[in-house]
């Protein structure tokens, strides 16, 4: 474990840029913390924090100069790895109608350094890795974008109002999948970072920074901070037996109840860092007769999502909410070996009517107990 001063973070961003990375990280825009390109640490949300609750998000000042004193906002890293809109193919018919050539290059791919990746987000990237890379097929878009990413994780010193990563075994401390991991310490008289390396490339970058070996006291301070974050989660979710409860709860009246509130707006699926569903749209280039196929994020909350000729399969809002929740916390495990939720709380915060999946899961567990006791 090494220690880096506040100024060391500027050195880190510079070092990453010099190694050819496009550096992305948190920044304030439109009164929210989003991810975008960082030119310097001045672009970070310095001294800003977020107050999150079901259906509400607000930025305030912390009263210090912390660089990472907040949790996650509406963006997640899937914007870059599994972009909201990407061209899959450009098909050009050959002269004389003898076939076509297909261009599947992805000009949007860069070597990115993601700075400020939270533990839950690392877990979410791990989940999407299993969807897009673990077969039987490999998604070339995700694969190419994912491969070169340099991850600077930031351990959470405080939990957000809608967080429950501790329940999902996904945080608040990043354990693997990063190149470097930072823990920020803002004391009365000192502002510094503990740095842990998680890969050979991370070690190389760290070696070029003005760091020194961390003292036992510094390490202990950081541990204490992370422990207090773990015990101050805004929410919790009991996963034990939940997949089975969901599996036998398809007829629960709770689905109708949540459907009276759910607007089917798709916000929860758009902000979720693990939701991966997409659709493909066809576009024609009238100028040269080429046809393009674009992939766009889709959501199981739309009626069109389950369309078969003659009508949609999931016409009711209750069946769509049920599809989403049973997938996230139940069937996902059978499909990919873990739940499709890391406890980041985004879907709770950004739901316009404040629907809370931890509350829904608890209610389903309760009515299951009543039925099967």
């Amino acid at each position: 474990m090494e220690t880096l001063d506040r100024s060391g973070i500027d050195a880190l961003l510079t070092a990453l840029r010099e190694r050819g990375f496009t550096v992305l990280g948190p920044t304030v825009r439109d009164r929210a913390i989003v991810y975008d390109e960082l030119r310097s640490t001045a672009d970070l949300p310095v001294g800003v924090t977020d107050e999150q609750a079901a259906g509400s998000y607000r930025l305030t000042h912390r009263g210090d100069d912390a660089l990472f004193g907040y949790t996650v906002g509406p963006h997640s890293w899937k914007r870059w790895l599994h972009p909201p809109l990407v061209r899959l193919l450009r098909i050009t018919p050959e002269e004389g109608g003898q076939g076509f050539t297909a261009d599947s290059s992805d000009p949007g791919a860069r070597r990115w350094a993601f700075v400020g990746v939270r533990a839950c987000e690392l877990a979410a990237i791990g989940i999407q890795d299993r969807v897009f890379l673990d077969g039987p097929a490999v998604d070339p878009v995700y694969d190419a974008r994912r491969r070169g990413v340099f991850v600077v994780a930031v351990n959470c010193a405080q939990a957000g109002g809608t967080c429950f990563c501790a329940s999902m075994d996904a945080g608040p401390r990043a354990r693997e999948g990063f190149d470097l991991a930072l823990t920020e310490v803002v004391d009365d008289d000192r502002h510094y970072f503990l740095v842990e390396d998680g890969s050979p490339e991370g070690r190389e970058v760290l070696a070029a920074l003005p760091s020194r070996l961390a003292t036992a006291d510094e390490v202990k301070t950081a541990d204490r901070i992370l422990e207090s974050a773990a015990s101050s989660m805004g929410r919790s979710l009991e996963m034990d037996g939940l997949p089975e409860i969901l599996g036998r709860g398809y007829d629960s009246p709770r689905w109708e109840k949540v459907a009276t509130r759910c607007l089917s707006c798709t916000n929860c699926t758009m902000v979720c860092p693990t939701c991966f569903c997409s659709t493909v749209e066809d576009v024609n280039d009238l100028a040269d007769g080429a046809a393009e196929r674009w992939r766009r994020w889709d959501s199981c909350f739309t009626t069109e999502f389950s369309y078969l000729h003659g009508g949609s399969v999931r016409t009711s809002v209750s069946s769509r909410y049920r599809q989403w929740l049973t997938h996230k916390l139940g069937t996902w495990i059978e499909q990919f070996g873990s739940p499709g939720c890391v406890g980041c709380g985004r879907c709770i915060t950004w739901c316009p009517v404040g629907i809370d999946l931890t509350e829904e899961a608890a209610a389903l567990r309760e009515s299951d107990r009543a039925l099967h006791a």
Partner: protein
């Protein structure tokens, strides 16, 4: 319970699973008022065309869209590639309106197969409704190519009316064979129909197979399949011996788009063929 095996053809790393291969429409033949059978030929003549009965391709009409369509030809003669398509919307309509010589794209084959070898030495009953005969036809060809390995083979086919049948001539030929029991029914009889009238499930109680030694393969509209499996189970066929081919909206066929989920299964990579116990619970639940 043995589940049908999956072949991993296109879906191997290194290949872009979304990249279509150019094919040329060799011929197109009308089956009935809204259904056509398209014969396709690879532009790169030496490409592999092997498939297993029950597998499907993603068929791409340039600039219009791409849809899952089962292969309807003979797996023992993969060089002759057929798809039988019912024109129900933009893409299927566009495909059915194509002219010989025109180019389209194809990805696949995807999905698992009808477990034909599981039925060796037992009776085999195919139950098809409407266009559902198309995904079953390769299995029928496969069985006929090694006919002596099976007990009694029964084909039960239901269509809305005589004019809505597909492969009518072939059904006629099959009906003439001594080693096949082919029964056809229509929901609504028109003037020139002298055969059985009623939904396909009405053929099940008296069909000539031994329910205790029977494998059933079922494909058709979901309601038809729901009633069919019920009749088969009532007749005494073990649910482990009943297989159905499921259908959901599908955009990618390789498990990325999320559309084709049916409970815990992805129709594209876990199916489309499922044994009844794998899907029964979801088949009986609304809006899954």
């Amino acid at each position: 319970m043995e589940s049908p095996k999956t072949t991993e053809t296109l879906a191997s790393p290194g290949l872009d699973p979304m990249l279509p291969r150019p094919f040329v429409l060799k011929s197109i033949e009308q089956e009935n008022v809204d259904t056509w059978t398209l014969e396709l030929e690879a532009v790169d003549a030496d490409g592999d065309l092997a498939f297993e009965p029950g597998q499907f391709n993603m068929v791409y009409r340039l600039g219009v869209g791409e849809v899952p369509i089962s292969i309807s030809s003979d797996p023992t003669r993969p060089e002759r590639l057929l798809h039988t398509i019912r024109s129900v919307g933009a893409v299927t309509g566009g495909l059915c309106a194509m002219k010989p010589g025109e180019i389209l794209g194809l990805r696949g084959p995807f999905g698992n197969a009808w477990p034909v070898s599981l039925a060796h030495d037992s009776d085999l009953v195919f139950v098809a409704g409407g266009i559902g005969l198309a995904p079953l036809r390769p299995a029928i060809y496969q069985v006929l190519s090694e006919r002596r390995r099976y007990g009694r083979v029964v084909i039960l086919y239901g269509a809305r009316s005589a004019g809505d049948m597909i492969f009518a001539e072939e059904l006629e030929t099959w009906r003439g064979r001594f080693d096949l029991d082919v029964q056809v029914t229509v929901d609504h009889a028109t003037g020139d129909w002298f055969g059985h009238v009623g939904v396909v499930t009405t053929l099940i109680p008296r069909a000539g197979f031994d329910p205790t030694h029977t494998v059933a393969m079922v494909c058709g509209p979901e309601v038809m399949m729901r009633f069919t499996v019920r009749s088969l189970v009532d007749r005494g066929v073990a649910s482990e011996g009943i297989y159905l081919s499921m259908e959901r909206n599908m955009k990618c066929a390789v498990g990325f788009c999320g559309h084709c989920q049916f409970g815990p299964s992805f129709i594209c990579k876990d199916g489309p063929v499922f044994s009844l116990p794998r899907v029964e619970r979801w088949l009986d639940t609304r809006e899954v």
